[in-house]
Structures are given as structure tokens and as C-alpha cells.
Amino acid sequence: MLRIAFLVPLLPLAGFVLLLASGRKLGNPLAGWLATFMVAASFVVTVIVFAGLFRLPVAGRSYTQTWFTWISSGHLHVDMGLLIDPLSMTMAAFVTGVSALIHLYSIGYMEHDEDFPKFFLYLNLFVAAMLILVLADNFLLLFLGWEGVGVCSYFLIGFWFERDSASSAAKKAMIFNRIGDAAFLIALFLIYERTGSLEYRTVFSHLSSVGEPSLVAIALLLFGGAAGKSAQIPLFPWLADAMEGPTPVSALIHAATMVTAGVYLMCRINPILYRAPDAAHVIAIVGAATALLGATIACAQNDIKKILAYSTISQLGYMFLAVGIGAYDAAIFLMLTHAFYKALLFLGAGSVIHAMNDEQDVKSMGALARVMPITAVTFLIGWLSIGGFPLLSGFWSKGDILLNSFAFSPALWAVGAVTAMLTAYYLGRAYLLVFRGEQRWVEAKPAGAKPKPLSAKAKAAAAKSSGQEVVVAAKPALHPHDPSWVMSLPLVVLGCLSAVGGLINLPIHPDFDFLDRWLSPVFASRLFAHQWGLGGVWTFALIDAALALLGIGLAVAMWGRTSKRPTLEPVFLRRAWYIDWAYDRFIARSSTELAVETSAVVETEGIDGAVNGFAFLVRAGGRQLRKVQTGYVRNYALGFAAGLVVVLAYVLTRAS
């Protein structure tokens, strides 16, 4: 059963090739169905392989499948090989599962787009690259997948490249990732230089002969790569801009799967982190700081996708916090549940945006629960789940991290706890502004039906704000409704998963720690898992629940009735702590100025000068040498004679 593992990345890759060859001919919606089928088939294969792995004895749950030798040059030997172990299969299962749902959703979301086949072509290529990243058995193949998902991310952020903002956001994502990738590459060189291999197993078995400073350097450089891909401080601003892409892309790539690649990498190199505790501490601190930063910014955003983007940054920070303290399975647990509820929230946001004719400002929505019940209910589940409402999946996964971080360092716990409270608050704000409160849009009158008047409250509010009835009426009339089944089904499935996803890892009894036990061969004794006992677990559960309820209560109290509270949306939070501005001002602009200066001075004076000067020298030399050739035969003959004399003199002096 393990032998069919090679099909997991090959099926989406085949889908990509098919769409490349005949995507236009298949057209809309057949191309979408083909892509969805390929990913779904990949999911089925993954489940079969997963089951095959599960039947093996615990100690033997690692299987390497080598296709062929990729590079063999001197001592460097790299195989195209897949590593099937509990960690990679967990990743592969959720990547293919969530991808299949989002592919299905995209068929509905992108139905009016001209480039429908192209969209699915990129999506399939992305899934294939992501699976190569996850299943690779060496660092170089992982890097291939890493760059593959990066380039797909670039294509998909810039999918509507006619818009300036989209193409510049795509470039921004590419550049930020490139900074991280440079660090990643240096780490690869270091690993090869120190251990003589790039294969995980060989590298990890040689670690004892590598000094700790080198390990710290390797771990931090790899973390630099992970920070680029997973949008951590200082390389996070691209993720907010990446929301220029179509919403399913935001859900799939920039929330559920690609951005978690950094966390996966960190979990994969756990033997290195174990031997480089200093690097691990840095990761934990950066993670906690990112979590808090993302959460504070999300509190003041008005674009529904920006809220979710900063929320993603914050949640990724949480995962890195868990990785840094060594609680790898808590990080994977949060990654899984986060994939469910963040994909759900993004798809819900996509439904809303779709229904509101591409309106993304939450301040222009409101009271949508009445017309979009399915979206509203699933979004509510997503909110409560990410907010850590008791018994929903986020409660368990976030609790797992908080539990361990308190045992590691109460300060990190405090940051995490504040972030948890803020998370419940800002998504509550988003939910209430979108689905509850007053209606801030104009409903289209269905033909032949009685026009539905605005609610009295909304009318009063509109009238109160300086008789703006005219302005309100000037807005385009909308007829929002729940989307078709291809878009609703993923919402419902993800809603269920978000609600009950915590069941895979319940901390109440060792028998229910399914995920922990499943992953234990990968992390072994390197895992940091404090045994609190039942009393401690309960105490933390109560604190978490209280924090979640506090955040939810705060959101309801503040945003339940009104959409205008400027004091809660200070400018510095709306402008994301001015970090993006600072990057632009101090790095982007000054670099541009430097480039302009360089092209003006170094280019003309230096480089052109050198080239022109050399040409001048050659020309001048030639002009002088020309005079030697007089055209008089006797001059040449004299030259011969003189030369002969010189040669003869030389020979004679040598002979004597």
C-alpha cells in the first residue's frame, strides 16, 4: 500500500500537464472539475498510504521511496525520493484534503472569470509542488517544492495582473520570499559542508559531530527561510498584500497550506533545534511577537481579507512559538485546525465578497446573516473555533500551546494569552460587522415583489448621519444570497471539521492523544511536553475558556450595535504599526534612489568610462604603431637585418 505513494504528488502534476495541454479546450467548468478530480484522487491515495503506514509497527513507521538519482556530482548525491513518515503523511493528508475542497469551491467562485482554466492549472501545480515539499526525503527536493509553491503563489497573487495593485503585491511576495530563500540556500550550503549530505536521515545522524555554533547558524538561517514563507517578523508584510489574489487562493495558499510550510520545515529539523536551544529560543520569541503583532493589527482593519490575513500571521506566530519551545505536535495540531477554520473563514469571506459584488469593506456590509444563513453559520463556527470557544477545535489546539508555553516560560504564555483574547475579539468584530448589526447596503428589489424596506434602525442611523439617505441610495443595489452548492459544500464540510477537529488530540487522557501518539516516532524524546496532570489541564482549560469568552463578550459589547468606534481603530494599527511604511521609506525608496544614483554615476563614469578608456588606449596605440608600416621595402629589409643581428648576437653570447 505504501508503494503507490509516488502517485500523491504525481496526480496533481498530471492534472497540471493535462490542463497545460488542453485547458482551453476543456474550458469552463470542465477544466475545474478535472483539477478537482486530480486533487481528490491524490487525497484518496494519501489516505490509502496513511492507512498502510498506520498498520506498520510504531518503530518502523518510516518508509523511503526513491524514484531516481537526481544529482550525482562528486560527493554530492541527491535522490528524487519520498519520505513517508507520520509527519509527512499528516501534512499530505490535510494539504490534499483542504485543497480538494478549495478546488471545488473555486469552480463556483471563478465561474465568470475569463482565465478559468489557467487558474486551475496554477492551483494544480501548486498542490503538486506543496506535496513535493512535504514528502521530500532531502533538503534539496524540499527546496524544489519550496520554490515551486513560491512561484505558484506569485502567479496566483498576480492572477488579475491587469490591476496594478495585484501585480505589485505579487512582486512584493516574491521579493520578501527571496530574502528568506537566500538564508535558506546558505543554510543548505552549511549543512552540506558540515555533514556531507542533504538527505534528512544522513544529516540528522551526523549532527553529533557538528559544533553547536554551526547548528545555531543552520537553524537560524533555515528559520530565516521559514520566516519568509510563513510571514514572520520581519518578513511578514507581503502576506497582507497577497490578499490581492482571488479569495480561494488566499484560503488555500496564504492561509491553509503554503504559509505553514515554514512550520513544517521547523518541525522537520527538530533534531537540529534540539541541539541548538539558543536558536529555538529565538524562534519562540519571534513567534510570540508575531502572534501579538498580527492580532493587534487585525483589530483595526476594515478589509475583511486583510483581517483574515493578519489573523493568519498571528496564528502562524503561535505555531512558531510552539515550535520554539519544542512542542512540535502542538504546532502541527494548531496547523491542522487552523487549516480548517482559516480556510473556512476565507471561503466564507469569499462568499460574502461574491455576494456583495466584490465589496471587501466590512463597514459597507452588515446584517447579512438574514440573507446568507449558511455562510453566516459557518463563519460563526469559524470565529468561535479560532477564538477558542470551549470544545471547538481552536480551544484544544491553542490550549495545547498555551499549556506548554506556560511550563516553558510564563512570559511567553502571557503574550499567547493576550493574543488568544484578541483573536476572539477581532474576528468577533469582523463577524458582527459583516453578518449582524445594521444593514449598510442597499437591497435590490426583486422583480415583481414588494420592495423590502430598510430596517427601521438602519434608516434612523442613516438619517442621523446628516441625512445621508441620498448617499445610501446612490450605492449600487445588491441581491446577496448564499452561493451554489459547489461553494456551500466546502463551507459546510470545513465548518464541521472546525467544530470537531479537536477530537484528533484531546489532552484529557493519554488514550485520546491520537495526534501526539501518531507523531511520536518523528519527535521522540526531543518533544517538550509538560505533564500537568488533570488538575493543571482543567485549570488552563478554564483560563482559556475565560479568555475566549472575554474576547467574544468584548466584541459583542463593542461592535454588536454600531460600526463606528474610531477610538478602537487607531491609525497606527490601521497602518500596521507603520512597519510597511518604514520598509517602503527606508529600504525600498532608498534602494531605488541608490539604484538611480548608481545608474547615473557608476554606470556612466565607472563602467562606461573603463570600457571607453580601454578603447581609446587601443586606438591611440594603433595610431602610433601604424607609423611602423611605411610601405618602403628597404625599411622592412632593415628590420630583418636588425633582427638578424640581434638573433646572431644572442646566439654568439650564449655560445661563448
Binding site: 611605411t630 610601405g631 621595402v633 628597404r634 629589409a637
Partner: protein
Amino acid sequence: MSISASWYLTLAAVLFTIGAVGLLIRRNVLVMFMCVELMLNAANLTFVTFARKLNDIAGQTAVFFVLVVAAAEVVVGLGIIVSIYRRRLGATADDVHELKG
């Protein structure tokens, strides 16, 4: 009875010098050409002398090559000289200096 080799070599040196000086100071192309022949034959004389003296056939072989090359050179050289005569009166070497840099 036999004349010592140094006489031959001296004669060759004298011939070569006459040829070289003639080539450098005369202006008439035909005379310069004859001077070149004189130098070639001075060299030939040296070859033959040493071939006799050292009892080595290689020197005489070299002379044959030189004669063949000289014959070919005469053909080309005289051809050039004839064409110079056709284009202008007289054959002064300094008048023909179009090929200067």
C-alpha cells in the same frame, strides 16, 4: 690539395654581406632581387661546405629545398617586377609604397 673550409665560409660571408648591403642601399627592384638571390646562394654555399666537412648529407638536401623555393620565388618575384614595369616607367622600390599604414 684541398682548400680549407674557412675559405668557403669566408666567401659565403662576403657574398651574404654584399647581398644584404645591396638590398638595403639599392633602389632598383631588379637589383634588389638579385641581391636576395645572392644571399640565398651564400647560405647554400655554407650548407654545402658544412655538409662536406661534417660528412653529413643533410646539408646538401637542404640546398635542394632552398633551390626549389628560390626557383618558385623567382617566378613570383619576376612576375611582380614585370607588372610593376607595366604600370610605371622604371622600377624604383621607393616609388612603390602604396601599402603603408
